[in-house]
Point group: C2
Chain length 340, copies 2
Amino acid sequence: MASKGATPTVSDVAERAGVSFATAARALGGYGYVGAASREKVEAAARELGYRQNDVARALASGSTRTVGLVIGDIENPFFATVSRGLADVLEGEGYTLLLANSDEDAGREARSIAALSSRVDGLVVAPAVSSGDQALRRPDKPLVVFDRTVRGLDVDSVAVDNAAAAGLAVRHLLELGHRRIGVVCAPSTISSTSARLRGYRAELKRAGIEVDDSLIERGPFTRADAHAAALRLLGRDDRPDAIFATENYMTEGVLLAARELGLRIPDDVALVGFDDAEWMPLVDPPVTAVAQPVFEIGQEAGRLLLARLAGETAPSRKVRLAARLVVRESCGAGASARR
Amino acid sequence: MASKGATPTVSDVAERAGVSFATAARALGGYGYVGAASREKVEAAARELGYRQNDVARALASGSTRTVGLVIGDIENPFFATVSRGLADVLEGEGYTLLLANSDEDAGREARSIAALSSRVDGLVVAPAVSSGDQALRRPDKPLVVFDRTVRGLDVDSVAVDNAAAAGLAVRHLLELGHRRIGVVCAPSTISSTSARLRGYRAELKRAGIEVDDSLIERGPFTRADAHAAALRLLGRDDRPDAIFATENYMTEGVLLAARELGLRIPDDVALVGFDDAEWMPLVDPPVTAVAQPVFEIGQEAGRLLLARLAGETAPSRKVRLAARLVVRESCGAGASARR
DNA sequence: CAGGATTGTGATAGCGCTACCACACCGACT
DNA sequence: AGTCGGTGTGGTAGCGCTATCACAATCCTG
């Protein structure tokens, strides 16, 4: 073994440096006592041999992988992409790496991903696809942080905006501008953030004395294509609503696309308020009004919560609630000031 | 040890099933011979104990992690997000997991990510930030596939579109519509795909008998903010170009934003052709004409190349070149007709 | 019915590290 | 001098698996 062409191990370095395996391991691993002279010899030998430590072996021996698993619905969704960036931002600062798994918003795939990941990570960050949760989530043998959505009866750290209140913001804006028949294009309400947004929508209508018409709520699975189809159904009706609340960015895209195909003008024929802001929203015609979540911060906060647990914190679970804000542009008929 | 509260190991299962460690390991690991009776006993015991195999230990013992590392500039960039989706699509089918690292388009961070990842993955997929490459890339002890960009003198599998030709497509379109002074907003040309696109741009102008004016080429680092600033510089000039070629989606966003701020109408005051299509491009005012890369397929192809190497293929390196196509919408002044 | 192939089982040597222990040495106290 | 804490070093037991061996039992096949 040893020396040949393969990647050098601690033993190889030790031999070359003329010290014991234990000493080389300490110098290389950065633990325990090592004299200055030995350390230098070891470092020189490591450099000459091109030694690189084996993280897998280290993980097995130490019981810590320095890796965090992230399970999300879809990395192509800018919301998740940005969250993962915020998470990576915080984690990488502490030397952790991100292991990624797409659940495709499917409970089965999510469960499998969690199972597969959990033996190779120190902690997990998950946006649970189903609010009823899953065995894998219920007995987490590793620290777990949930974001964007919650799971009934699952008492773990979580971070999200107050979705009901944020949805209220959007609906109130529509109401204030005189819209009364407000439709909704949303994801399945098995997703807790969606159902919370729906709750906020209903509450706001009720407060305004408007009866909720459930037929105005179009649900689709969590994809662009489904959102598009749902929007087409809603806007294709004879008694189409005069405003639409899209509960998520794919849904907003779908409504925009459908309106365009149907030759409907926004906001004149139908107003639109979205949930989740995007870089392109100021750029479309008309610029889209939307609820903006502090997405990057959600990721960062999730990272901080997890880091605290990884550091051994045992306090009761924390629920971090971040504030969302409404970014008013022109798709609801407000401030049609400048252009058009 | 054994039984207590900790996660059960193969030994625990073996003991409970009343078979030897070796037999339990084979049944659980799915290798070697195991009789039907033993297998059942082991499976029952595993179920009762809630056994879950430890991937870290398996990786150390078997020398294979069933994990692939992906090093990209920025997961928030839809291009990379989609590629990673395509990659995951192919890899997960074979039971591989994705380990993700953002390089922020920085050579140093990239090198560190590669170093950190390479001891815990079976193979790497990288979009190299710098065309001159890096030590970590040069002596890959693991299978490596690069995509989108190339590295001088690095002979490894790669997949990308023919960037020069694709850029030519965009520039020719502008030329055919009568635009002569064509500016460029691009990323640093240390990125090989950017420099290839620039090469295509120059070649196309030359072919049309137009002299290249280097002052019309604005470079910025690879961020939205820099793209915006670069676009502002270019469009703010007294002798501003009458058309712009944006070499990447962040650059396209920047140009759109800058034009809007400057009160410039597209395509009347300035035409725009982008590189990389996006869902929102049909939605903006006017709909943006852009070169569309088969992004998902790039990811899939990278996955297939890597999988082949992982399976032991030793053929000389393959360079997969995919075709890009121009999606004509209205931002260059063409077919202001319907909107197809 | 001998003799080889096939199947099932157990024992055990690592994989490349971390972490703990024992020991030796040193200067600095009583 | 005797003893003690701090320091440096080597030895080595695992971490939870995979993989290989040796061996036994069963199965063909001529």
